[in-house]
């Protein structure tokens, strides 16, 4: 087991460096010149020759003319940077955001808090609905509720999130006027304490509903399918024949077996808490990781987007590892140290 974990982590590190190098190269493909951008405001106050000299000096200072591998190593924190410090991704320094004029760690702080806050609620809500719903549908297969849910879930996972968002905004926000359609709190209200939280939750209602609805489809179907598989196993028949109470058959005998295929998805969801939905945040004007990423791209703040991208990558790598390991932990039959 330990050997397997170490091997997986080894692979993961290799993949991480490969991805990060790929990403770094990609970002360098974008036609941009930080030195010229830095100098642009002072251009009018300088003579052309002076400007050219200063420009070349700056390029050297920024190390823009070095080979890409050297720059990558510097950015990663593998070698000393031009000032002689070990300051890179591995040392926990994510870079400097040109648009926000702050270190990226500072820029990301608030959005990531918001994203985690929103996503915890969305995930809990979605899991809280989909798992019981999936179990119910599997147990009452072919019934009215099941058929209705089947149709609803197919709609849910077929339609893109932003269309679901538009429909919900129209019905709940515009027609019924129950919820505000955009933002994260009453503008200019400056509430504190409990009032702040209730106000915030009120504003987050609509995005949460949309996120929940959007994720209902896939998960409910998955839970239902694996639950039906579990219920058709022989030991369920045995348990029923023994006269075990039906509730115990479902929740103890069948559900535990149905859990195995689901666990990977559930873990994936919990890791997704950090990433934030680009579309939802963009549509509802929430300041989270997704909208920050879009802002970075739109404002050509590539150091920021690169950092966010690396963050996403690490999460998905760790996620894959945890999922694989958890299979082994939950199900002793899965022998992962093969």
């Amino acid at each position: 087991m330990l050997k397997y974990v170490l091997k997986r982590i080894g692979y993961m590190i290799v993949v991480f460096f490969a991805v990060s190098f790929l990403m770094y190269c990609l970002y360098n493909l974008i036609p941009q010149d930080p030195a010229r951008m830095e100098l642009e405001p002072m251009k009018s106050s300088m003579k052309p020759a002076e400007y050219q000299a200063r420009y070349e000096e700056l390029r050297k200072e920024m190390g823009l003319d070095d080979p890409i591998v050297v720059r990558y190593a510097r950015w990663m924190g593998l070698t000393k940077d031009l000032k002689g410090n070990m300051k890179g991704l591995l040392e926990g320094y994510f870079g400097y955001s040109r648009y926000f004029k702050q270190d990226i760690v500072e820029v990301v702080k608030e959005p990531i808090k918001n994203t985690i806050f929103i996503n915890i609620f969305a995930t809990l809500l979605a899991l809280g609905i989909t798992i019981p719903l999936g179990i119910y549908c599997a147990v009452h297969k072919g019934g009215k509720v099941d058929n209705f849910t089947q149709v609803l879930t197919i709609v849910g996972y077929s339609i893109p999130t932003y269309i679901i968002a538009l429909v919900f905004i129209y019905v709940l926000g515009v027609l019924l006027r129950w919820f505000p359609v955009s933002g994260m709190g009453t503008p200019g209200a400056n509430y504190t304490g409990l009032k702040y939280w209730t106000d915030r939750m009120y504003y987050l209602c609509l995005p949460l509903i949309v996120m929940t609805f959007g994720s209902l489809g896939g998960m409910t179907r998955y839970v239902r399918a694996s639950m039906i598989d579990a219920l058709s196993m022989d030991h369920i028949k045995t348990a029923r024949a023994k006269g075990v109470h039906e509730k115990q058959v479902i929740y103890s005998h069948a559900w535990r077996n149905a859990l195995l295929p689901i666990i990977g998805i559930v873990i994936g969801w919990f890791l997704g808490i950090f990433s934030g939905s680009v579309i939802i945040e963009n549509t509802f004007g929430l300041s989270g990781m997704g909208s920050l990423y879009i802002k970075g791209l739109n404002q050509h703040d590539y150091e920021l987007t690169l950092a966010i991208q690396m963050f996403y990558t690490v999460i998905s790598l760790v996620g894959a590892l945890i999922t694989d390991l958890s299979y082994g932990l939950v199900d002793p039959r899965v022998r992962i140290d093969k």
């Binding site: 991805v19 197919i154 893109p160 932003y162 269309i163 905004i169 515009v174």
Partner: protein, 607 residues
């Protein structure tokens, strides 16, 4: 016996024939592929999905051929028009009793001989302004002439009082004091009433012209030397020209522009004048037509006519003339069929024509009203005045093409890499699976956004579209690769592979000709579902503004402007139709995918 046969025939008719065949016969005639097909055909949801998908596919592939799209098209008078073909639906009461008809960009106004005013078409100009709200005093007055501008209507009653309703914020209601009812009541007899974009003008019986309205960008003052000699007035969007009683045409204002140089041939013998939005036209007594101004839609090139034109009328970018032999001819812009004069008009005896914007109304001598031109938009227009129906079918074509090509790329890469990894195993497998892991661990949407940003918007729209397809394809092959690998790992241990190897079949042939067909069915399911996903991804990218960029329509970028509450609420047609057709399309594809899965894997039928 015969009774039994009959029932079996009935049974056959109602599809219950399997009962008659004993189990052995049935086993023999059902090959696996036939069973799959049978299973699929008997899946009602799946068949509905398939039919629905084919209908949409037909719509987006065939309709665009008949509905060409002009990507540069935009018209500020046709923005945010509600769906419906009501623009020329004049009330029946008007027929046989017409005193005057005029129309604005999306609505029509008419007066009958009893002085009653009628309004039809899309009268809501903005949230507040609605032309259909005719003020009480106008309803009571005995109106005899009307003229409609972009967002205002002027009217004159029998006592020569001038009224304005609609938008009056830009000076549309600054009626000159000479024409104001309270001051000189009835002294100036008005013989002609005209309206431009946001300006209006009137000609009185004693040869004077008065113009008023939005002064920006227009030239509304009249040279005093012409006053007293004016016979007729023609108004473009913001400028005007005058026909004087000596038969000459003059530009009456002070500014110099494209209209102020009236062609020399129009110094005499002119019998009629008219104006489109950007040109003016004079008709000489010998039938020659002279057009000047900024003709951009072909309205400056009158066609050869069968007989002498006697009267001329101007629309937005087209002119209509009444010929001496009673025929009617139109030329100029034909994007809304405003120059296609119906045969019924040429057959009838035409008394007069009312033509403006994209509509033409011809009144026959016996009082019937015949129309041609823009009826309206079936699905409304967007914020640039483009027809949503046209963009919908063309957008569907783009979205489906992108989804399909991306899917084909992903499938090709996935099948080849998966096949190699699965069959050879070992270091090939390790390498390919690591690469797949790297690609798969890139967060999809952010990474696609990044690649799209790198591609940039500087390159050609068409090339950008191809690059987006490639990007989507390159990012989504890992799923197929894993699937094929896993399937092949399972298949390659089977006896038939051993047999093929023993017979000396080449390895490539074993993978692609012996093993792959066995994987095909499951691959088909995956491909169907992934096609929907690719379409979703493309549309999400376009929705965020990183996919295919406007003006090329896709179902995604048609919804880009929709996430604000004004559009969602007031201009619902701009997002509802796209959402519906896109939603139905992806639902259909997913239904088909599910049905194929059920058909392929009988075990899953239980689910």
């Amino acid at each position: 016996m015969s009774e039994k046969k009959k029932s079996s025939l009935l049974g056959r008719l109602f599809g219950n024939r399997n009962k008659e065949i004993d189990i052995l016969v049935e086993e023999q005639i059902q090959s696996p592929s036939k069973m799959m097909l049978d299973n699929f055909l008997h899946n009602r949801l799946g068949m509905t999905g398939l039919i629905g998908f084919f209908v949409i596919l037909m719509i987006v592939t065939i309709v665009p051929i008949f509905m060409p799209i002009n990507l540069g098209e935009s018209d500020n008078t046709q923005t945010n028009v509600a769906p419906g073909l009501v623009m020329m639906k004049f009330p029946k009461e008007l027929e046989g009793n017409v005193a005057d008809i005029s129309n604005g960009p999306t609505y029509g106004v008419g007066v009958d001989k009893d002085g009653k005013v009628y309004v039809w078409g899309h009268t809501k100009i903005s949230k507040i302004i609605d032309i259909a709200n005719i003020p009480m005093e106008i309803q009571r007055a005995n109106i005899r002439m009307v003229a409609a501008g972009y967002d205002h209507v002027v009217a004159v009653d029998k006592d020569n009082n001038v009224y304005v309703w609609g938008n009056d914020r830009l000076g549309q209601d600054n009626i000159p004091s000479e024409l104001v009812p309270s001051k000189i009541r009835g002294t100036k007899e008005i013989i002609q009433l005209e309206a431009g974009y946001q300006i209006s003008g009137a000609v009185t019986a004693d040869g004077e012209a008065y113009l008023w309205g939005n002064e920006n960008m227009s030239d509304l003052s009249v040279h005093p030397e012409y006053q007293g000699h004016i016979k007729k007035l023609a108004i473009t969007n913001s400028y005007y020209c005058l026909l004087l009683d000596d038969g000459s045409v003059v530009y009456g204002g002070y500014k110099s522009n494209a209209f102020s140089n009236v062609p020399a041939t129009l110094k005499s013998d002119v019998v009629d004048i008219a104006a489109s939005s950007d040109t003016m036209c004079g008709l000489k007594s010998d039938g020659t037509l002279v057009v000047w101004g900024n003709g951009t839609h072909g309205e400056d090139k009158p066609p050869v006519m069968s007989s002498k034109p006697v009267e001329i009328y101007g629309g937005r970018w087209h002119y209509s003339v009444l010929l001496e032999n009673g025929d009617v001819l139109s030329w100029g812009n034909n994007s809304h069929k405003e120059t296609e004069v119906p045969q019924s008009v040429n057959d009838a005896e035409i008394d007069t024509i009312y033509s403006s914007y994209f509509q033409n109304y011809a009144v026959t001598k016996d009082g019937r009203i015949l129309t041609w031109g823009l009826k309206g938009y079936l699905l409304g227009t967007d914020n640039l005045g483009r027809d949503i129906l046209t963009r919908l079918v063309h957008g569907g074509k783009t979205t489906m093409t992108v989804g399909f090509v991306a899917e084909v790329i992903a499938l090709t890469i996935g099948v080849i890499t998966g096949g190699l990894a699965g069959y050879f195993g070992g270091s090939v497998d390790l390498l390919i699976m690591r690469i797949a892991e790297v690609i798969g661990s890139l967060p999809f949407l952010p990474f696609a956004l990044l690649l799209s940003a790198i591609i940039g918007s500087r390159i050609d729209v068409q090339l950008r579209m191809y690059l987006i397809m490639v990007v989507l394809g390159l990012l989504s092959w890992t799923g197929v690769c894993r699937l094929v690998r896993a399937q092949i790992l399972a298949e390659r241990e089977k006896e038939f592979v051993l047999a093929a190897q023993a017979m000396g079949v080449k390895e490539g042939a074993i993978i692609f000709r012996h093993i792959l067909p066995n994987v095909m069915s499951i691959l088909l399911v995956d491909a169907t579902l992934a096609f929907a996903t690719c379409m979703l991804t493309e549309s999400s990218l376009s929705y965020l503004g990183f996919g295919i960029s406007p003006p090329t329509p896709t179902w995604g970028n048609m919804l880009t402007g929709a996430n604000n509450s004004i559009v969602i609420q007031q201009y619902w047609w701009q997002w509802v139709f796209v959402s519906i057709i896109f939603g139905v399309c992806t639902i259909c594809i997913n239904l088909v995918g599910d049905a194929i899965r059920d058909a392929v894997d009988p075990k899953s039928l239980g689910r």
